[in-house]
């Protein structure tokens, strides 16, 4: 258990080093970028700016500053605007959080019953149809799915807004209306993935001797699947949720961009376009941390849900 947490922390540190190293290896100078094409800027001004942003110090010292700041909750200042990175992220994190949680919840809600239905008769025609459909779903990059959804529901039918965002605390109804298409686009890809994992696990679970025992006890088919097979299948499938979350997070970057949602993903894209590395590196690291943390939580959850692993932990 402790090893598992330590691994996650190490992973996060390694990730921060990689992100930092890549961004420092760049040829472009963010100060020049920030000043843009402003004419007649003296070398003095440039130097002062570099000093302000800490860019005059050694790479190692800069990394130290960055990580030290992160640990204190001070994420630095944007190279591009005068805003502090903390503020920028603070404004945006809620949207991304809401989008991700709603999409994952939607995917699970769609996927679990579908997987159960598919696993009831493996290789039957329903199973085949579901498998073909999910194979198509998995081929959709979320932003391509977004385009299709936009064409149908915004351009053609005009039911749902194509762009924009209303925060949850302003108007719940409008907030949800703006959330429908983005989360549907993400779920269109994530749900088939879950279906695939869960169906495979279910089919395997249904083949186990304890299922035969349950049938031999006279347990009705539906209860056999739900009470005996599904619980056993969900445990291994749970580990794939981390992966799904990663997919959703990666997909959310572009989906936010397509639908003009003010989230971390669109912030990342904007700062990448502006070469605002102070913001970019922190946003990327934050999203990585979210991903690593989710996999960690899911792993630990799986351990507490599985009595076999629970005993092992108690022994250790």
């Amino acid at each position: 258990m402790i090893t598992r947490v330590a691994t996650s922390v190490l992973l996060l540190v390694a990730t921060s080093v990689i992100v930092f190293a890549v961004l420092r290896a760049l040829p472009g100078d963010p100060v020049i970028t920030r000043l843009g094409s402003t004419q007649g800027v003296s070398q003095e001004t440039i130097d002062r700016l570099r000093e302000q942003l800490g860019l005059d110090r050694s790479v190692l010292a800069q990394y130290g500053d960055w990580v030290g700041g992160l640990l204190r909750g001070d994420f630095g200042t944007s190279y591009f605007s005068q805003y502090s990175v903390t503020d920028l992220i603070g404004q945006r994190i809620g949207t991304t959080l809401e989008l991700t949680v709603v999409s994952v919840a939607l995917s699970v809600a769609l996927a679990v019953p579908t997987a159960v239905v598919a696993a009831l008769r493996p290789h039957g025609w329903i199973d085949r149809a579901i498998s073909a459909l999910s194979s198509l779903g998995m081929a959709f990059p979320p932003f391509v799915a977004s385009i299709f959804l936009l064409i149908v529901f915004s351009v053609q039918l005009g039911w749902l807004p194509a762009r924009g965002w209303v925060p949850l605390d302003e108007d719940v109804g409008e907030n949800l209306r703006h959330l429908v298409l983005p989360s549907a686009a993400l779920a269109a890809v994530a749900a088939p993935l879950i279906v695939r994992y869960l169906r495979a696990e279910l089919v395997e679970a249904l083949d186990q001797p304890y299922i035969r025992t349950a049938e031999g006890k006279g347990v009705p088919r539906v209860a056999v699947v739900l009470r005996h097979a599904l619980r056993n299948a969900l445990l291994p499938a749970l580990t794939s949720v981390g992966l799904i979350f990663g997919y959703t997070l990666g997909g959310a970057v572009l989906v936010e961009y397509v639908f003009g949602l003010p989230g971390l993903g669109s912030l990342a894209v904007e700062s990448a376009l502006r070469r605002d590395y102070a913001v970019l590196q922190t946003v990327v690291l934050l999203l990585c941390a979210g991903f690593i943390l989710t996999t960690l939580v899911v792993d630990l959850l799986a351990r507490t849900l599985d009595p076999r692993l629970r005993t092992v932990n108690a022994d250790a």
């Binding site: 349950a214 006279g218 619980r231």
Partner: protein
């Protein structure tokens, strides 16, 4: 014994495995037997002889690619093969129970054993959750589990092999079945535990008058448990006889080989058979005529050409499927 009185009557049971492209492999071939109330029958044979599949077919638990193609299974008056869905569910676990091989994998690893037993009780009785819980403790105590309350809260992996087997037995008994099928209930247990489990099963069959079928490859275990033994070879019954008769004078060469009794002085053969030579046949590669002929020391031409029918033995004490059963009997008796 007339079939009408039998607790369990299996007639002409045939099971095949679909091997794809219309090919069917015979797994169980035309098996018939009856077990009376309170009687204990042993079904013995090497692994792969079709014993377990016979039991699974009786329970209606065969999975693809296996399926029953012919025969009937009667539980008292009830035709099990005609039942589907809920009706089948009421009988399975209610009137007929089974103890499976490998209790570790046959118990759900994520449910407490007490819950797994009370699930059966609640499916087949109208007891409340609390009453069922009390009944679970009774059952656990009855199958010899001390500290039943603590053990009921345990998960399967927290129990010893013998303990898990007792849990399986308690679960199978929980709805008071008329028939209990026990599939290798003592394998993977140490000798002392084996004996205790067998004693437990015998006691249960006496006290509750449960008809039992014990599937085993261990003739020693079968001898201590059964009053009648049926021997299977390559999916067929080759001999059936009361236990004493079978052990004293096996009529089929295969039974004889199983018992390692070929060194009997009265036999005309010069050489003893310490073990059974050769391998048990695979379902797709059965020999013509009598399936046992490639391994049989007495095999003649007729054994290759014709399959011997399972017929009542000359002295009326059982059934045997061998062309030379009679001849060998005469030789034996001088």
């Amino acid at each position: 014994m007339s079939p009408a009185l039998a607790a369990l009557a299996v007639e002409g049971l045939t099971v095949v495995a679909d091997a794809g492209r219309g090919r069917e492999l015979p797994i169980v071939r035309d098996v018939s037997f009856t077990v009376a109330r309170g009687a204990r029958m042993g079904l013995v044979g090497e692994s792969g002889s079709g014993k377990t599949m016979t039991a699974m077919a009786v329970m209606g638990l065969l999975r693809r690619p296996l399926r029953i193609t012919a025969g009937s299974v009667r539980l008292g008056e009830t035709d099990l093969r005609a039942l589907r869905g809920r009706a089948l569910g009421r009988v399975r676990g209610g009137r007929i129970g089974m103890i499976y091989q490998d209790p570790m994998r046959s118990l759900n690893p994520l449910h407490k054993v007490g819950d797994q037993i009370s699930e059966t009780i609640r499916l087949h009785t109208s007891l409340s959750r609390r009453e069922a819980g009390a009944r679970v403790l009774e059952l656990l105590a009855d199958v010899g589990i001390a500290d039943a309350a603590a053990k009921a809260r345990a998960y399967p992996h927290e129990l010893s092999g013998g303990m898990r087997q007792r849990v399986m037995i308690a679960m199978a008994l929980s709805a008071d079945p008329e028939v209990l099928l026990c599939d290798e209930p003592t394998t993977a247990l140490d000798v002392t535990t084996q004996r205790r489990i067998v004693e437990l099963l015998v006691r249960i069959s006496r006290e509750r008058e449960v008809a039992m079928v014990m599937i085993t490859h261990d003739l020693g275990v079968a001898a201590g448990f059964c009053d009648e033994i049926a021997v299977m070879y390559a999916g067929r019954l080759v001999e059936q006889a009361p236990v004493r008769e079978l052990y004293a004078a096996p009529r089929h060469p295969y039974t004889e080989a199983l018992l390692g009794a070929a060194c009997d002085l009265t036999l005309p053969l010069e050489r003893p058979i310490p073990t059974i030579a050769g391998q048990p046949p695979l379902p797709g590669q059965l020999a013509s005529g009598c399936s046992f002929h490639p391994r049989c020391p007495y095999a003649q031409e007729v054994c290759v050409e014709q399959r011997p029918p399972l017929e009542t033995a000359a002295d009326g004490g059982g059934r045997v499927a061998c062309h030379f059963a009679l001849t060998r009997e005469e030789v034996r008796h001088g």
